[in-house]
């Protein structure tokens, strides 16, 4: 059995992780992303791709149900972890390869999944009758806001209806992006997500590295010049421009391309504190209208371009204290 153990050692040196993140658990998520980046691990896009399911933050009932579905979808060997805060992240992850190598088959019962019915038809925009598929987007998708589920009605690849569901917001949920440094880091995080969805992975990773440097107390000037260079490259890219220009224009915020440029410009100027965007509740209200008629991949770009932090949704209910 030396062959099998050798194969296992090779296969699990750098496991792929699938993250279920509670809104507001941004701290441990960032620690996680930093660890995986520094160790050359990668985050899984889907359950089939993953070796471990990592629950980050405190999951409420609906999010636990999501984690439960995903856990049953993970091919074995698989390990399930739960991380509460950033302190234990490195230690828990460092033990992961060993746990995967020593995994032994258990007598789990064979999975029974319900057989869904055939899709029904509805009139489409061409005046024809076409199948309608009800598809959930999120909460576990790459570069997707934690705790957001966008349920869309698809006809072909076109969104005909959308509604927003929020998961994981509890009484203890607190937004992470507070204070000046974190606001700047938030802009970089948002840029990293949008660039990631757009497929410019190298640039996305660059944004994440600068974000982490900023949060670790990196000097403003170095980060600012780096972000400035990065912003110029992003602005100049014709491909990215073709993808994002004119996409989901919002009053006062511009289209997706302008929003991305503004985020980076804000960090480069090191002045984010006075430029808080509209409240997340407002953005969530317009989201279904914005994605109406969009193609599936465009929906992902639109959501990434809005920089939604679901954890902020709890703020208005705290006795009406508002930023004035």
């Amino acid at each position: 059995m030396d062959l099998i153990s050798a194969l296992r050692r090779a296969a699990f040196t750098r496991p792929n992780l699938l993250l279920v993140v509670a809104p507001g658990a941004t701290g441990p998520r960032l620690a996680m992303e930093r660890f995986t980046r520094e160790h050359g691990w990668s985050l899984a896009d889907t359950a089939a791709d993953a070796d471990a399911l990592v629950e980050i933050g405190e999951l409420d009932e609906p999010l636990t149900a999501v984690a439960e579905v995903l856990w049953r979808q993970l091919p074995r060997p698989a390990v399930r972890l739960s991380l509460g805060d950033e302190v234990g992240v490195g230690e828990a992850l460092a033990r992961l390869p060993e746990r995967l190598r020593s995994w032994r088959p258990t007598d789990e019962p064979s999975e029974e999944w319900p057989e869904p019915p055939m899709a029904d038809r509805a009139p489409d925009r061409d005046g024809l009758r076409l199948d309608v598929l009800r598809v959930p987007l999120g909460p576990v998708l790459p570069y997707w806001p934690a705790g957001l589920r966008l349920v869309v009605d698809m006809q072909g690849d076109v969104v005909q209806f959308a509604e927003v569901e929020l998961l994981g917001v509890t009484g203890r949920t607190r937004p992470y992006w507070t204070g000046e440094t974190r606001s700047a880091a938030r802009r970089l995080d948002a840029a990293a997500r949008l660039l990631g969805v757009a497929g410019w992975t190298a640039m996305s990773t660059r944004c994440q590295i600068l974000r982490d440097r900023l949060l670790a107390g990196g000097t403003g000037t170095f980060v600012a010049t780096e972000v400035d260079r990065l912003a110029r490259r992003v602005r100049r890219s014709p491909l990215l421009g073709a993808m994002l220009r004119g996409l989901a224009p919002l009053p006062g915020l511009g289209d997706a391309h302008e929003r991305l440029s503004n985020w980076l410009a804000e960090v480069a100027r090191a002045s984010t504190a006075d430029e808080a965007g509209p409240p997340v509740a407002e953005l969530l209200n317009v989201l279904p209208d914005v994605v109406f008629g969009a193609e599936l991949s465009v929906v992902r770009l639109i959501v990434a371009s809005l920089d939604l932090d679901i954890a902020e949704i709890t703020e208005p209910s705290h006795g009406g204290i508002s930023h004035g």
Binding site: A48, V69, W113, P114, P116, M118, D124, D131, W144
Partner: protein, 116 residues
């Protein structure tokens, strides 16, 4: 009989390769029972079956593709003899292409290629 030796050898090699694939699979697998799971839907479950009807537009494109696919089938033998037959063959083929092109123009005019 000697004619069949290469064929038999190839068949044997094919079987051996397929058998080896299965054997390696059995040898290194961690769990014999395959994972039965619905498609990944970001942590949700599908509400409808994946089998669904396509938009009628695709059928127009399919018919167009078939027309030109068949044209290519005719062009291969034509390419072999065109030099021998000469001008006559060239005229015939381009007349044929013109007839097909008329179909494309018709579909275009009817809006069959309009996507949005």
């Amino acid at each position: 009989m000697g004619w069949y030796v290469p064929v038999m050898a190839l068949a044997a090699l094919g079987l051996a390769l397929v058998g080896a694939t299965y054997a390696i699979g059995l040898l290194v697998t961690v769990q014999r029972r395959p994972l039965v799971t619905p498609p990944f839907l970001a942590g949700g479950l599908p509400r409808e079956h994946a089998v669904s009807r396509f938009h009628v537009r695709w059928y127009v494109v399919t018919l167009l593709f078939l027309a030109f696919d068949m044209e290519m089938v005719f062009m291969y033998p034509w390419a072999v003899v065109v030099a021998e037959v000469g001008v006559e063959a060239v005229v015939e083929m381009f007349t044929f292409l013109a007839v097909l092109l008329a179909g494309v123009v018709y579909v275009w005019r009817e809006g069959g290629l309009r996507w949005t």
